[in-house]
Amino acid sequence: MAQFLFLYRRPYEQAALSPAQMQQNIPKWQVWFQELTEKGHLKDRGEVLEREGKLVRGSKKNVTDGPYAEKDLVMGYTIIEARDLDQARELATGCPGLSTEMVVEVRPTMQLNP
């Protein structure tokens, strides 16, 4: 089994959902995580990130607020175990966020012995 990082990205500006629509999203995610857990793919649910923080850049250590300027925002991550990139990609297609403008970035962690 190899490890993969699922990065959840979404546009900084998003269409507003009604409270009922927001709530309808949650059970879909619970079902997805439940399936990943049952099939032994969920290594770590990961963390959710605040929308805003600081950007520290360059040797001058310039600090700015951010990341406003980014086209899309990393909202959180999960660590997944899968056979290979194909299987990990397949698992990502089940993410409920895809129907609400989310992009799931699937990144294999580098293996020492490829």
């Binding site: 009604s18 409270p19 009922a20 927001m22 709530q23 949650i26």
Partner: protein, 429 residues
């Protein structure tokens, strides 16, 4: 997800009410922003971590922290709620005042005060209903427009104009004010309209209708839980809503078709709601004032207790409608009275009563008026007249469910005519 039910919508209403009390009604938009932000955070976190044990508490705590943060950072408590400004500014740390403001009793009080604020006398009745649905029930403009079969722009305008009126009042309605009882009857009326929108309204989608009725019941229950607002008329209103809501499951059959009261399968009526309604009627009987809600609840309770249309004491129903015509006369009440008379004394008597309804031209666009005339002509045996009225009603029908019912009845007219003609020709032979 069953345990969460309508958590987001309902907590949205509670948070906006609690925050509008702190920020002042003139900062309603800020209260709404903070609420939206708390809901978004909940969504982001709960998607990945799963919902916490106490989701409602989580949301309210998030809103509270954000409000406290705004207050400390902006140092603008003075421009917030005038009655709270001193308490919030004088305290070295407003956190303890905040704990009180976010206690469950305080929030319930805020919800009531927001309900009263939304029934401002300068607002039209449809604006009051829309504001309550938007602010306290957490429905979006799009969802309200869909429920009322109205354009989104129209609802958006109605709500934003309404909010401008609320903002002018700066603070929420105080339940101890001297115009309290006047405002309470507007609140009753608004909840009654909200319930009717769900019960008789234009939207064909069953789930939407039920949600509107449920919201009216929930807000009515809130009124019954506060000693200031739990007056006999409030109990009567809630009784009326429970007894009608009890019939909701039987109003639409398994094929999604509309079923009239007389044809409903009464085993589908909700016994719990009927019991609640009867208990509330007992509570409503305490005062000396008889409101239209009392009488309407009494009518609904007679229907609820009858095993079938034949078992119904129609004479009692007619006399309740007589009373209703005295305290709140309207062409619609007169029409329902005529239908009860038709059950009691035969369809021709019903038709006679309909013919003498004052202002019956006000019923011209009401599909049930033509449908009622059609039903009674049908029973008298005037199939041509019945068909004309059914066709008229069909032209006024507001949704596919009403249309299907009327088309069925039109077909029945043709069938009866054929049967009658058949008999006639046999007799002639």
């Amino acid at each position: 997800m069953e345990p969460l039910d309508h958590l987001f919508r309902h907590e949205s209403g509670r948070m906006v009410a609690a925050l509008a009390r702190i920020f002042g009604m003139h900062n309603l938009a800020l209260a709404e922003d903070v609420t939206q932000d708390a809901l978004c955070r909940a969504l982001e976190v709960w998607k990945i971590q799963g919902p916490p044990d106490n989701p409602a508490g989580w949301l309210m705590t998030t809103a509270k922290h954000r409000a406290l943060d705004l207050l400390r950072r902006e140092q603008t408590a003075r421009t917030f709620a005038p009655e709270l400004a001193r308490a919030l500014m004088d305290e070295h740390d407003p956190a303890s005042t905040f704990e009180e403001l976010f206690g469950s009793a305080a929030i319930q009080d805020d919800e009531l005060r927001m309900m009263f604020s939304c029934c401002h006398p300068r607002l039209a009745e449809d604006a009051r209903v829309a504001l309550i649905l938007h602010i306290l029930c957490g429905f979006s403009v799009g969802e309200i427009a869909a429920a009322f079969l109205t354009g989104e722009e129209a609802i958006k305008k109605r709500i934003s104009r309404g909010k401008a009126v609320l903002a002018g009042s700066r603070r929420m309605f105080d339940l101890t004010r001297k115009d309290f009882s006047e405002r309470l009857s507007s609140v009753h009326r608004t909840l009654y309209l909200l319930f009717n929108e769900g019960y008789h309204g234009a939207s064909p989608e069953i789930a939407v209708r039920k949600e509107l009725c449920d919201e009216a019941l929930r807000l009515g229950t809130l009124l019954c839980e506060n000693s200031l607002t739990a007056v006999p008329a409030t109990y009567a209103l809630l009784a009326l809503m429970c007894l009608h809501a009890a019939r909701l499951p039987a109003r639409v059959d398994s094929a999604g078709d509309f079923t009239m009261l007389l044809d409903q399968d009464r085993s589908g009526w909700d016994e719990q709601l009927i019991a609640d309604g009867q208990r509330l009627m007992d509570l409503s009987a305490k005062g000396t004032v008889l409101t239209a809600y009392h009488v309407e609840a009494a009518i609904a309770s007679v229907h609820a207790a009858a095993k079938s249309p034949a078992d119904t004491p129609w004479g009692a129903i007619v006399s309740f409608y007589d009373t209703l015509m005295r305290i709140r006369p309207s062409p619609v009440v007169a029409l329902n009275r005529a239908l009860a008379i038709a059950q009691h004394d035969g369809p021709q008597r019903g038709l006679d009563e309909i013919a003498v309804i004052a202002d019956h031209e006000r019923l011209a666009n009401y599909p049930f008026y033509s449908a009622a005339l059609a039903e009674l002509e049908f029973r008298v045996g005037n199939m041509n007249a019945a068909k004309d009225h059914f066709l008229m009603a069909l032209g006024l029908a507001r949704n596919p469910m009403e249309r299907r019912l009327l088309e069925r009845r039109l077909a029945d007219c043709d069938e009866s005519k054929r049967a009658v003609n058949g008999t006639a020709s046999l007799a002639g032979a």
